[in-house]
């Protein structure tokens, strides 16, 4: 993976992004704003399953209302995330937290899809899956921030140590 990261980092596209003083902060800011959108959307879906919020609305209505926002948010997160990876592929691909984040992201998206199947049909969804989904998304945000601190977080386990 590291040779690929080294190659990617030396491509004209990567160098162009790196040499901009404002592009990376701008993309990171958009990324964080979208985290707000996606995280709270997941939170609302989870709270609906748990019967804590929006109990007067059928689950299918809550899903129909918020699933599109979730999809839009995740799309923007993927796009800004992809450009951020291209700008610093070595830092990202050699970080344990990065791969853990990607794994948890896949789990988090699958978990929302499973919850969505029940919500759409107004069928009772698993409450423990709902709680787990929220925890997985919290972990995604956590390890996203931890990419910048691989040695501090992972110590000797880190490839950068």
């Amino acid at each position: 993976m590291e040779p690929f990261a080294q190659w990617l980092q030396a491509t004209p596209l990567s160098i162009a992004i790196q040499s901009s003083s404002w592009l990376v902060p701008l993309l990171q800011s958009i990324h964080i704003v979208m985290i707000g959108l996606v995280f709270v959307t997941v939170l609302l879906l989870v709270l609906r399953v748990l019967g804590v919020a929006r109990t007067e609305q059928p689950p299918s209505v809550v899903w129909a209302q918020f699933a599109p926002w979730l999809l839009r948010g995740v799309t923007v997160l993927a796009l800004t995330g992809a450009v951020l990876i291209i700008s610093e592929p070595v830092r990202e691909f050699t970080a344990i937290s990065f791969w853990l984040k990607m794994l948890l992201l896949a789990l988090g998206l699958s978990a929302v899809a499973v919850l969505g199947k029940s919500l759409r049909r107004d069928a009772p969804a698993s409450r423990s899956l709902a709680v787990l989904t929220l925890l997985v998304w919290i972990a995604v945000v956590f390890f996203g921030r931890a990419i910048a601190y691989d040695v501090e977080v992972w110590g000797a386990l880190s490839l950068k140590a």
């Binding site: 990376v24 707000g36 995280f39 709270v40 945000v141």
Partner: protein
């Protein structure tokens, strides 16, 4: 005591020392700060979109805002606590950082906008609680709120790229730090 003295006191406190010496502190506190900021922004957005008539138009304004407010405050409290912790780790550089100062002003502006809305347009909410189209003052407050909170995030991220770091200069090194 000036503001700068206060900043230095926070920086020199036990909390500041703990933040600087504990290797796990910064990543954990920063991650919590991002989560807290995401909660504040997202929950504020839900209320603002309702006020703008773009989402939840079949739900009453007071129901939407009452439901979200507890999460907004929980997130905001967590953001303030983690924010103070990060500030304590590098108090002097944050104090002198322009982006940090603009962020505090934008936060104050967001708070003022909310206070004006609460003391003004919101007082007649019973008349438009169920309507998709809210009064102009409510829509202006909602649009300003979105703009201010998104700006807070942008300026906050900029701090990390402009603040530099506090570091101790070894005794045998002669650094000329005078500004030309």
């Amino acid at each position: 005591m000036t503001l700068h003295d206060l900043a230095l006191t926070v920086g020199n406190s036990g909390l500041g020392a703990w933040m600087r010496t504990n290797v796990h502190a910064m990543p954990v506190v920063e991650a919590l700060h991002v989560l807290a900021a995401a909660t504040v922004l997202g929950t504020v957005l839900v209320v603002d979109l309702r006020l703008l008539g773009l989402n939840d138009s079949q739900r009453r304004v007071t129901v939407v805002s009452h439901e979200m407010l507890r999460y907004t405050w929980a997130g905001f409290s967590c953001a303030v606590i983690t924010g103070v912790m990060m500030f304590a780790a590098n108090a002097n550089t944050y104090y002198g950082n322009t982006a940090f100062r603009i962020k505090l002003l934008l936060l104050a502006a967001a708070g003022l906008n909310m206070a004006i809305f609460n003391l003004g347009a919101l007082r007649s909410v019973v008349q438009w609680d169920q309507q998709q189209r809210t009064p102009r003052a409510a829509r202006v407050a909602a649009a300003l709120s979105v703009l201010l909170w998104v700006s807070v995030i942008f300026v906050a991220r900029w701090i990390g790229f402009t603040k530099g770091y506090d570091f101790a200069v070894p005794d045998n090194v002669d650094l000329d730090l005078t500004i030309p």
